[in-house]
Subunit: 122 residues, 2 copies
DNA sequence: TTGACAGTTGAATATTTGTTCAACTATACT
DNA sequence: AGTATAGTTGAACAAATATTCAACTGTCAA
């Protein structure tokens, strides 16, 4: 047990062995930042609704707007966010643009967290 | 194909059958809001680091502060957030408060999204 | 080629959210 | 009792973000 040498933190190290052991086991910063961003993409109710909707199959912007009762502009902005995060992909067909989930990972994560929420309700 | 009757949206319904079929399959708003909040809890780099750290075992506030090189106040605020979302629990022992993950669901979700990120890197 | 519609985009606004700061509580030790 | 340490809390500030609005592109059909 000794004074902490960190620049920013105002703490004493209480359990030195714990801290250094955990430090070694932790993922690197870049990976953890990527994970936070991944969750950020799902952390908005509009976006999670879009994901849930696309889980049933591909949909165009109009259909999603109607489904969520929101403007096409608002939906389009969020679709760009989801696309940037590689959660969805799109296919153009004439005037319409059809969006769908990028891969199966997304469904898996969605399903597990759904279970988590439904269990909490009980 | 007909005009949309929604109040807020500015769209035409392009694929009426799709929209009504998806509407039936979607989770209810309350559940989806709960899911968004669940992801929100994990969507910040400080919080995801805390989760990753606690995945190795319980830690007190000082240890986490030292580990992340942040003030105890900043960490404590985020711990309250995570606790409100039922992602972590705590145990008091004298002056110290030890935090740990609430249940195994959290690890599962963490692991799957970790895979997702690591695969994307390749 | 003109009009209508699907969708996108950038700027502006409003809201949410993370960290800091200072004051506070609670426990332990002398 | 007095002091030091672990941790919490609320307010204030700064940064990030969701939606709106208006203008825009691209495609189709008359």
């Amino acid at each position: 047990m000794g004074k902490c040498k960190c620049v920013n933190c105002d703490c004493n190290i209480i359990h030195k062995e714990n801290v250094s052991s955990v430090k070694n086991k932790m993922q690197d910063d870049e990976t953890l930042l990527g994970m936070a961003d991944f969750y950020k993409a799902l952390s908005d109710s509009t976006r999670i609704k879009i994901i849930n909707a696309l889980d049933c199959g591909e949909l165009c912007v109009c259909d999603i707007s109607s489904l969520l009762n929101m403007t096409k502009s608002a939906i389009s902005h969020q679709l760009q966010n989801l696309k940037e995060m590689d959660l969805i992909k799109c296919r153009k067909c004439g005037k319409e643009v059809f969006y769908s989930l990028a891969d199966k990972h997304i469904c898996e994560v969605f399903e597990i967290s759904l279970q988590h929420i439904l269990e909490k309700k009980k």
